[in-house]
Subunit: 345 residues, 2 copies
């Protein structure tokens, strides 16, 4: 049995430490918070008492009394998507050294779950919120607006930012890929997408726009599913594409690299020559993209930067360093970059 833990240990408070050190609670509080005005010998006495008792300050009481939480709320739609991994790293790498904590919510691509998370989060007096995209429910938007908490919407370019927006135009990125494939003389260009979230749809829109303008758009070559992305799904959607179009297709833009790796795998199985016979372009530039055979052309995105920049902007808003309060512009474009490798001719 696993019961080597004490039950109902009475929580130690400032008072206990104060009693032991022979000072008042408020003095202990000052020591804990590193306030300046405490004599060295008293500070030491208190510190010893803290160590001996193993005192740990109660954060709830502190937040309640001071309304400073050192808490940043983060809302992302998925934990299994590598993309958010890097974003999170960026966030944590800035937040942690500043002694801020991150409260992370997974919204599962659902605005309703997001709304619930926003409500819960705002109850914790966060000092900043980082939220994915711009598809908040009206209620969530209203709460956010009313809250006076700095809000950064990340990942995509958002229509009417609630506050600050850090990301890039998925529409333009999709358009750029379409243009690339056209430039490389592919003519019957398709699209494969899974988990069609708003940003993926924007990429598709931009993509279709360019093809359409070039008179090269054929909706039969657009294969999508709401199911999650995976390498296996990429292979499967590719087979579907080939069936639907009866092979009348010579290139494909995959909404992410996992799918594209699946397509490459399937091409090899079907003895389709990439890039001569068929072009493949992914999205995200995950590490494996460079190690695929042929190496995958894709789109590189500053995921880490989106996270770290968002966090920095929140700190800048909490604690303005510049004279002009409004030096933060509403939209920070983190851009994207085509990475052309061997899977496109």
């Amino acid at each position: 049995m696993a019961n080597n833990k004490p039950q109902g240990a009475q929580r130690l408070t400032l008072k206990d430490v104060a009693a032991k050190a022979g000072v008042s609670p408020i003095t202990v509080s000052r020591v804990v918070n590193g306030s300046a005005g405490v004599r060295a010998n008293i500070r030491e006495k208190v510190e010893i008492a803290i160590a001996e008792l193993g005192y740990i300050p109660n954060r709830s009481a502190s937040v309640l009394a001071s309304s400073k939480s050192k808490l940043i709320g983060v809302l992302i739609p998925s934990l299994s998507n590598v993309v958010f991994n890097d974003v999170l790293r960026g966030i944590y790498d800035i937040a942690t050294p500043a002694n801020y904590q991150v409260l992370l919510f997974n919204t599962h691509y659902s605005p309703e779950e997001e709304e619930r998370a926003v409500r819960t989060l705002l109850g914790q007096s966060p000092e900043g919120l980082i939220i994915t995209g711009g598809e908040q429910t009206p209620a969530a938007r209203a709460m956010l607006q009313a809250s006076a908490v700095p809000v950064v919407q990340i990942m995509g370019e958002v229509d009417k930012p609630i506050d600050i927006n850090v990301g890039f135009s998925h529409f333009e990125a999709g358009a750029a890929v379409a243009q690339l494939l056209l430039n490389r003389s592919y003519l019957k260009i398709g699209f494969i997408g899974a988990r069609m979230d708003p940003r993926t749809c924007q990429r598709l829109d931009g993509f279709e726009g360019i093809l359409s303008a070039a008179n090269r758009l054929d909706k039969k070559r657009i294969i999508t599913t709401q199911k999650p992305s995976s390498v296996a799904m990429g292979a499967s959607l590719f087979r579907e594409l080939m069936t639907t179009t009866q092979g009348n297709c010579d290139a494909v833009f995959c909404c992410n690299d996992d799918l594209a790796l699946g397509v490459l795998h399937q091409c090899k199985k079907m003895h389709i020559d990439v890039p001569k016979q068929f072009g493949v372009c992914g999205f995200n530039d995950i590490e494996m993209a460079a190690y695929a055979e042929p190496a995958l052309s894709t789109v590189r995105v500053n995921r880490y930067n989106m996270g770290s920049k968002a966090m920095e902007l929140i700190f800048e808003k909490i604690n303005p360093q510049t004279d002009e309060a409004s030096s933060i512009s509403a939209y920070i474009n983190t851009g994207f970059e085509l990475v052309i490798r061997q899977s496109t001719r």
Copy 2:
């Protein structure tokens, strides 16, 4: 400028809602918490008032008054490692539906950072803690022991569990791989490892144990680095292995699949035939392992389960469902499984 947010909005409290609804604060509290004993018409009145005012309860006050935080602290050593991704998904998938929140700390493989995180975390009155491995500092261990908070140590089998332990024996897993390679008639077997954390070291130990017993251990074939894992690193370490051993090596166990994928890539470049001439085994069974060429032999681990099981055990401890209080055993073995594909003969 991005300043479309109100400043210093006065926080709404129970009292405000109570006044608006013409009831007492405690009644509002009951409605908010879904307590049974509130008449339907009153409840409705209160709910309307809440909606109209946009009231959001103050969590700090609630926690302070009730010492129920609905908070689970999670400490993991890395955010960039896919392994922890799956574990986290398991944790969130159980915690979120139960209305519990997760406070996530990245300890960067440092026991000191971990100790700091434990201290911060315990200050939030968490109802449970999930922590990676068993290498806590004595101070952290002491705090954990004293805290009366359920603690689950995950990932590896831990020597002296603080409370509950969910994971598997990395030692045995490493031994199993060594045995596999021996069984497949590889004779000069090496090891490649990056970011040598405690669990990776245990795998290496088990691996060496078997080779040593078979009189097949040659330390020159053990190549490790403290730098992070990546496909690129796998290729690089493989080159090092080949140089160091002057090619006198016919198989390798990579401490994770990323490294192994790099090895496969490098083998292809160097025209080394896998698996005939050279055997490769990875660890983790990430999706790409099955899509590599040749498909990668590896070890499958119940990452998601480790997370979800840990969370379930905490709930079981918080809220015992069984009569016997001690039905939770101290160690839950989530096991592992060899997945033999084409990269080993």
